[in-house]
Amino acid sequence: MKELSLNILDVAENSVKAGASLTQILLTEQDGTLTLEIVDDGCGMDEDVVRSVIDPFYTTRTTRKVGMGIPLLKLACEQTGGSLAISSVTEEADPVAHGTHVTATFDMNHIDFTPLGDVSSTVLTLIQGHPDRDFMFRHRLQGRDVELDTRELREVLEDVPLNSYDVMEWIRGNLQEQYEELSDRDTRDGED
């Protein structure tokens, strides 16, 4: 995909389809490496299913039915010299602590690194499409965080749906402010 943010949206939608009540999108940029984690508490996958979402041709998989989200994410990180790993626990194996954890690492200085793109829009699209689910987004840039947690919003908003226009606009503005604050601080640091 032209931007990683679209790839993130695709994979996070899989978490929602897996019945996750909470999906976490964690981005960590540190010293030229980007680590992307998508963590959900959905129904989980057994070993065979994990293999089939990574390999588009694993055994009986019918490619037409299954998305290319994970194979393309794997390609995007591997072409920078990074890697992708999935660990998953099925609901059967553990009725309490089940879910899937996707981790992808990227060398951001590699010439084939796919730009991250507009992750705020990815988060907004997820909330808009699934106002009954929770999302936790954290983008850590050199140790400083941009953060949004719908569980916190829900506490304050009580009965107001998360995907109402005013709430969506507030979230958009809030994320933008947080990013601007970080880049302002970077500029000031640069002057010191």
Binding site: F57, T63, M68, L75
Partner: protein
């Protein structure tokens, strides 16, 4: 023009399970998600990408063949996958543009 006829014009067959397939138009691209949404059925698809997702995208977009330009290598296990999945994969020693120009002359 049929895919197998390209062999008479300097193209090399890596996997040719469905050589009788007709070529209708050409698509060029290396960004797989982009190709997936835009290549038309029966297009010959020219690319320099050579991972397993290329075979998956060729299947999804139902292209008539994949043409690897610039003598790009395809690992033997991927060639095997292509054969199993009925995906034609050819190779050209020339760069993408020259390969496309040659195809344009042939399928006109």
């Amino acid at each position: 023009m049929r895919v197998e006829e390209l062999l008479e014009h300097g193209f090399e067959a890596l996997s040719l399970p469905d050589g009788g397939r007709e070529i209708d138009g050409v698509y060029i691209g290396d960004l797989l998600s982009w190709v997936m949404g835009r290549a038309q059925m029966d297009n010959a698809w020219i690319t320099i990408m050579n991972n397993v997702n290329v075979i998956a995208v060729a299947t999804l977009a139902d292209t008539s063949c994949v043409i690897l330009a610039e003598d790009v290598e395809m690992p033997e296990e991927l060639v095997e996958t292509a054969r199993e999945k009925g995906v034609n994969v050819l190779r050209s020693s020339q760069p993408i543009f020259e390969t496309a120009v040659k195809l344009a002359g042939l399928i006109a």
